[in-house]
Symmetry: D2
Subunit: 336 residues, 4 copies
């Protein structure tokens, strides 16, 4: 099946490489990027891709291309989904669909109406550790989830310029955790309470955002989840989940590059965390694309659905409002 | 230094044994229990204690006795603290001082006025694992605390009859965690948000309580803490703390009776948790009493102070109110 | 049941304290030590023991005393066992019975003939971690043992003066591991191969001993065990066992004082090992004495038998010979 | 740089895939396999390789090809190395070079004389966990190695037909561990003592081999290493190393697919080991080939040298002799 890639920045390059090397079901015919240049062409050529264009329409208008991966900037996601829907092409779209709920709904509606498949890039669902916890939960090992705990901390905050346009920590960073909480709970959130603070960098506060947050989620079925986020963990990526239920608890440790330890009189030292996101989730990026390929080739539901694209944005909206107003906010308050 | 024990129930017996075996600085002269009987005498005799009485005044009026350990039912704590203050005797008092904030203040005021030392039985401060995390935090290793996480789960809910008079999960169970959060943060809480649910046993809900809770604490200095509680962890006691700061993170694992593991094709199995609280905190009960003895013998501040007796009760009051009203509650709202 | 303690040095004091505090079935009537002085009396008095003597016969001749704990220097063990046997008193004897196999046999024969119970102080059998592995093995979880691995390393070598009279690393240090190997295997050793080196301190080599050793044991039933010893692990006590069989593997980690860890950019640090043997095996010393008390009070076989006193000495003899001669040595070669 | 692959069985296919996907410095021009068929061609075609032949000479005679990867059966390794040497082509050769020491020497001599580079496929040197331990040792963190421990256990024995021609457990399985011991020690072995037993399957014994072994290695510099091997660990691959020295200890845990754990009243369960070698060492196979490419492209020494191809075979010869004769065997006894 032939596919087109829209956007050849950092994440676009990762998907180009991964599809080329590891997803034999898909063949990239065309790469479109508004800033496409010789370097883009050289990168594509490495993987035998000859068509590089500045115009995404070269993809949408190509009848040979059956699916697109939207890896462009967030503000263009919904627009491209709608164009893909019109052209009848399946979509893999990086998260989030949009920060504007109206646009999210429009994109989802277009996709549904056109009957195209749409998978949002919540790659952490495919991480070997998180997935193993999820599998235990879905297999019923822990029974009904009572408490879900997610720690999600980044090594470094993004540049302030980015923070200003990022939509804030809840849209930009916690959105992965909102997806993970729903994924693990198998239920929808009713109410969100977000406590935020500026403890990492005052400039983040001046930009109107927080850099440290604890978010409590009340699910419809009674499950309570709590997410803690920090923009800077000096020890590197820290991503752990825990699901506690009436039959037991499932959890994972933080993923680390190796298990080697060293002990002397100062203690036992080991387990430096990953410092680079691409290393931390290398396997997950491959796995999500394999899953997308499998779904569209076999004409099956994608493992991340259009609703999965909507709800984390609703949760981010509720968390942002809760953090600002200092009160719990219901999901029903923020949907449009 | 001679001491008297008031209350010879389960926890009183633990303190009688521990003082007799492990705290050579203290000698128990008298044990008072309103239900004292032959069994009480036999238990005391094991440790060479000859005086067993039904009347606590036999302790308060004995000029040889310099300190008392109050191990009677919670509703009598504040009364006995006030009597001890009048008699000029130092107090070790089981937690909490009272559920009624007015009584807590009266007891504390009496103790302060009389100049007696008062240590509240927050034994977990003395647990080897929690203490090791605390020591790292106090040594400045993690820098300023940004996020504190406490998981605190019991193996089994108490009988419903007890639940009804317990004051609720926040006074009865989370109070240890409120103390731990303050202890680790080195700061006071400003606002509390408690999300609660009845997921373990509907009878707990009918008794007006919750059995599952996630409590978010905002500290004055910006630290955010989150506590998760459950009345029933099928795998046994689960007590873990984590303090994340700008220089690193300190945490402990759950304490387990041994490190032995077994592996076969089904995985690696190990680490059954403690099932009985007295086993889980055996060392902590000894250590807190040694610390009390050291403080009063050397005329030093006790490691748990009168204020440490007050604030967790304030936090429990705020959490209870927050859970009922579904909104964050400031500590200033609940103090009397 | 009244008991006497012979030898009030370091290990004698530990047993005096443990019996007094934790073993209510036994009452220490008399402590005998050839160097007994005021300090000995003061130590005994702390635990309410009034009789302190320089003459062990005061114990052997006392009809009220039914058992003795022999905690004197190794060269006196067999003599005192024989005297105890004559006097019809049960014996707890510190390890080893003797370095001289002839004396070991004489002591064991005397004990058997007199029908007294004799427990040798292989305390590690009672360590919570080692015992948990043993329990899994005995419960059949790992099936038949194929490979047993024991790491046993001390924080510091003993003084050279002691090394010279210690009988060497195999009698002095590895003897615990020889006992542990038999205990875990549930079988007897046929052949021993010991590779030794002087890597820690040349003075140990000059004293005729090695400080680093790897010992391979072939058991009659086919199990192969390997022990590695070092006189100096800079990180503290390191004591781990592993039993691998046809149905699985059971192992323990090294015991550490607490589970707290700290992570920063340099890695995750945790788990300083114990530095002092008395801390490392504190619980094991108590448990072995409780087990001895239970056995003699209930007139049952002791959990460490007279044969258990013999075989580790045979293994030490074979290991010493093997290390010197550079060849495997059969147990049958060294027995007398 | 163009390369040829000789042998397209299981391991050959792995190298074809890895070179094609992950080693851009190398381009596979030709695949030779005596049993080459349509399937071989289809496999090669997947990776854009057009030349598939039954005749290895098509590679040796091709002046465009600068290096070969020898992935054919062990008995052909030395022959192909010699041919590659004659043709002036660098070699990557699967382990071992041969079981016959004379042939090993001939191959090594030919390679040396011709000045070609020769890397033997000891892939475990490139495993992330083992490498991390190695890096710590080489960085001097543990000081001088005193004791090295290697556990190396396979999930299942090979078929008896293979056991009969495998050269035995020491040539076939332990050879990786012999290489690892030298690699970690940074020294050469002087003497080997191997204790073996037939505990897994009597048919292995009937085939003249053992299935369980403990091998002690004495290094020239005094380091003692011990390797334990089993043909069947029911829990899957178990590969751990530990290097203990005068400044500390470095070790790794067994590599497992994920860190997820589950706890209930039966304990904490986690960490199923890998069941398939190709999964366990997937990254190591890629890394060793990248290292080979880097060496030959940059005209540098390969990270596994010709001597590294010789010594493990010497150790296997000594271990086999030691196990049979029941005595320690010096390396000098077995070299030809």
């Amino acid at each position: 099946m032939r596919v087109g890639i829209i956007g050849a920045g950092r994440i676009g390059k990762v998907h180009i490489r991964n599809i080329s090397l590891f997803v034999p079901e898909l063949e990239i015919k065309t790469v479109a990027d508004v800033f496409a240049n010789e370097q883009t062409e050289a990168y594509a050529a490495q993987f035998g891709i000859k068509n590089v264009t500045k115009n995404a329409d070269d993809i949408f208008n190509d009848p040979e291309i059956e699916a697109v991966a939207i890896c462009s900037s967030t503000d263009t996601h919904s627009k491209y989904i709608i164009e893909a829907a019109k052209a009848g092409k399946h979509c893999f779209c990086e998260k989030p669909i949009d920060y504007d709920l109206k646009k999210v709904h429009e994109a989802i509606d277009a996709a549904k109406k056109a009957g195209i498949r749409l998978q949002v890039g919540f790659c952490r669902r495919f991480d070997h550790n998180h997935r193993a916890v999820y599998d235990m939960v879905r297999a019923g090992k822990i029974g009904k989830p009572h408490i879900i705990k997610i720690s999600s901390r980044d090594p470094e905050p993004p540049p302030i310029a980015y923070v200003k346009v990022s939509g804030g920590i809840f849209y930009d960073m916690a959105i992965h955790d909102f997806d993970m909480a729903r994924f693990l709970a198998g239920d929808e959130v009713e109410e969100v309470f977000a406590a935020g603070a500026v403890l990492v960098d005052p400039a983040i506060g001046e930009a109107g955002d927080v850099d440290t947050a604890v978010v409590t989620l009340k699910f419809k079925g009674g499950t309570i989840a709590v997410i803690d986020n920090s923009r800077r963990a000096v020890y590197g990526y820290d991503q752990r989940v825990e699901v506690f239920g009436d039959k037991g608890v499932a959890m994972n440790g933080n993923d680390i590059p190796n298990t080697a330890t060293f002990a002397d009189a100062n203690g036992t030292v080991g387990g430096t965390a990953f410092q680079v996101m691409w290393d931390r989730y290398e396997q997950a990026f491959v796995s999500e694309m394999k899953a997308f390929a499998k779904a569209i080739v076999n004409n099956e539901e994608t493992p991340v659905t259009v609703e999965d694209g909507l709800y984390p944005v609703l949760m981010a909206a509720a968390a942002t409002k809760s953090c600002k107003e200092g009160r719990p906010v219901k999901i029903s308050e923020v949907d449009v």
